[in-house]
Symmetry: C2
Subunit: 223 residues, 2 copies
């Protein structure tokens, strides 16, 4: 038991990867309550999935459960870190130090989850050189250099829409492969790069849609 790494040549579902984060959030809360072991049934109830799905998700990466005692809470949490690659700290940089950008700089949760906000950038020359939430704000001119020097792996985008695509292209050329984008604008990334969208309006629209539907008119909603 407990060997990590995918079995055989099966592809890994991204739905499964997303649920890993969900499971881990629940595991952290159980850990705070000093609970050592948890069964698939309970963890599934906490996260709004079926027990079968939880077991299937975990089985993608090996077998971790102690039969009849369940899963070791702290161990599985650590295992998920290893799977997603946050057992080593990943450096982030932020583009755009507006209201949202400053809120992100103040957010404590990154460090707890294995991410470190190493730098911030802004196109506004008045902001370059200033310090926000304890972090120096660089000029966009320094993007490539700072990315290389600080070994930035993920770029968080919270700028105005104007320079967005340009920032992506330059960062990608400088070696950044991952982008987390808060800006409601159509973008594209080069081959081999990944961009994840956080679209608040889209979420609100989904809620708006749901609130008008009869329960049995939509496919299953996770709770």
């Amino acid at each position: 038991m407990a060997s990590i790494g995918t079995k055989r040549d099966a592809k890994i579902s991204l739905n499964t990867v997303e649920r890993l984060s969900l499971y881990r959030r629940a595991l952290e809360e159980l850990s705070h309550e000093k609970i050592q072991y948890v069964h698939s049934h309970r963890l599934a109830a906490l996260t709004g999935v079926t027990p079968a799905q939880l077991r299937r998700d975990l089985a993608t990466f090996g077998s971790f459960g102690n039969i009849s005692r369940g899963y070791d809470v702290r161990q599985m949490s650590a295992t998920i870190s290893r799977i997603v690659g946050t057992d080593e700290v990943q450096n982030l940089a932020l583009v755009g130090v507006g209201h949202l950008g400053r809120a992100l700089l103040s957010y404590k949760g990154f460090e707890e989850r294995g991410f470190h906000v190493a730098a911030a950038f802004d196109a506004d020359p008045d902001k370059a050189g200033r310090v926000f939430a304890g972090r120096r704000c660089y000029s966009m001119d320094d993007l490539e250099e700072v990315i290389s020097t600080l070994n930035v792996r993920i770029l968080v985008l919270a700028s105005h829409p104007q320079g967005l695509q340009d920032a992506i292209d330059r960062a990608a050329a400088a070696g950044v492969r991952c982008f987390l984008n808060f800006v409601p604008k159509i973008t594209s990334v080069p081959d081999g790069c990944f961009i994840e969208q956080i679209d608040i309006s889209a979420k609100l629209e989904k809620l708006s849609f749901l609130s008008r539907q009869k329960v049995d008119q939509v496919s299953a909603v996770r709770r």
Copy 2:
């Protein structure tokens, strides 16, 4: 053509609903460029889906395309509003006026998309009564009353984890059925209510995972 409303008794996929928001973002940009008609091929390329999927998604709600001219950009944008229910303004309220909450209060995008931030609440008595980004901050004591008076339909959660579940339960009892949650904490909502999670760490973890994988080891990634 052009009748809205689902056909027959088929259930609507939430994946489809999520993509509607994506399509509309692209349609807005096309509209700004004064483009009147767009083919499925182009709109699909802009949004990173296949043309077949785009047509299938739209077909869920009727048929809107003019064969050989494509889709009317402005009309389809308006149609999507009608489908998701933002052709009429939806009132939001915000719980938690910390860094993130204030950033959300300053965000202009809500109004453009048919949402109005009608009120804000905070558990901190020092914040109650003050004004943030032009909006009065209420005490949590007033939650039920303000929700009813202002006809709040969606509650945005950006508070500390402590009072979170309590805020949900009270708002639900006061008639709110939709929640948008930024707080990294396990929650539950009563039957008939919906909660959407915005989990920044989860997105970062997904990116971290992706950046370590060979391209052909994961199932399709949208770009």
